[in-house]
Symmetry: C2
Subunit: 235 residues, 2 copies
Amino acid sequence: MSSLPISARSIPFPTSTRKGSVGTVPISPWDSLYFAGCPDLIGTPFSYAREEEIYGEAEEAEFVYKLLDGAVRTHKILSDGRRQITGFHLPGELLGFEQQDRHRHAAEALTDTRMLIFRRRQIERMAACNATVACQLWSLTARRLRDAQDHMLLLGRGSAMERLVAFLIDLDLRLGATGTFVLPMSRRDIADYLGLTIETVSRLMTQLEVDGALLRCSGRQLSLHRTHLDRLIAF
Amino acid sequence: MSSLPISARSIPFPTSTRKGSVGTVPISPWDSLYFAGCPDLIGTPFSYAREEEIYGEAEEAEFVYKLLDGAVRTHKILSDGRRQITGFHLPGELLGFEQQDRHRHAAEALTDTRMLIFRRRQIERMAACNATVACQLWSLTARRLRDAQDHMLLLGRGSAMERLVAFLIDLDLRLGATGTFVLPMSRRDIADYLGLTIETVSRLMTQLEVDGALLRCSGRQLSLHRTHLDRLIAF
DNA sequence: CGGCGGCCTTGATTTAAGTCAAATCCAATA
DNA sequence: TATTGGATTTGACTTAAATCAAGGCCGCCG
């Protein structure tokens, strides 16, 4: 359970034998070392390489992660290999927060990433006696629930094009709403997030470019035409 | 905002002019008048008729509801009429819990229902200064998030048959796992929950019966063959 | 009891997206 | 710079589920 960091294969502490490693972390406004504004909780900087697993499904939820930079995907897999990506996580966002002892999904780094890690037990202990912290945690979970419900609507009732467009717009917003960004994930990841195939995603991408709704430099580097894209969805 | 119950169209209090009405409520183990085990929060019994709206999307989230009996659906609607049912709620479950001032979806009674209603502000006030209550609320939201993520997997990667079978099994479990129950919702509701059409749901239902995976007495009265059904899904 | 109207089922046909199969692009590295 | 292997695109074809269109069932009320 709360064994020392050395033992479990999943543990991303400096003492671990895993690929991840500590790096220097420049602190910008949003990436305070504190968790939920609580000065008693100080995170430990840590980093993961591209495609490295952060934690596995059903693995013990020992840590909570606050993403400093890079990008992470979380997913669930069925026995026959079908995969559903449940979310992408960008800098400033929280990761690995479970209320139970085991993770409900796996998490992997999409790109090289840096994070702060916190012990879940410690945070829970803090929440148990500090209503402000507990409310903030509740808030975070509520936010995720809302996102999940929006995504349900998209998956259940959106056409392939609507799913892709909504995804691109959402990603742009979360990356700063500049209209220009580099996709941190592969077509496969996008397809598995949207419940589509890579071929469909690829075809739609091409069609959007042909229609002038976006510009592609090299595969993953995009410039969106918001006004044009907005017209394509009802979401 | 926190005006008296009389004013707003949405208010389901005894003094309201709406269809809903107070009834006597027999208290069984799970339906304590308390909220989150907190004796300071006493709910007011109230009831809704079949198909009656409990609250609308984007309406102010003034109340929280604890279902005593009956069944409720929550949904989101797009401008063009497409609807996604985000969840069905059965006795003992909580409803209308938002962290924001407005509801994210609409709620309607599937059958005649009885509930307890609580003022959201009061509960929030309680949570703000009582860590135990806050943690319980967090727990509830986390549970819903997990359900939502499971449903995402189903919507994103499940075939029509897998969606229906998973739905039937889940419903049976939540209704007491007897294997025999009456569907409280129409085919349209099921279809809108599973991201399918009513015709597809109907055809699959027939096929399940032909295959001996379930028995139908009259449309909505079902008996499931769990072992047979379990073989049809990977979820 | 009979008819009305909303569900539900069934059948025929269409279509959006999936599958299978090849090219191409492109980035890492030798 | 040349090589190589994964990622992406594109094309041809298939299919699961949607759509369109009748019918049948059933509960309710006159």
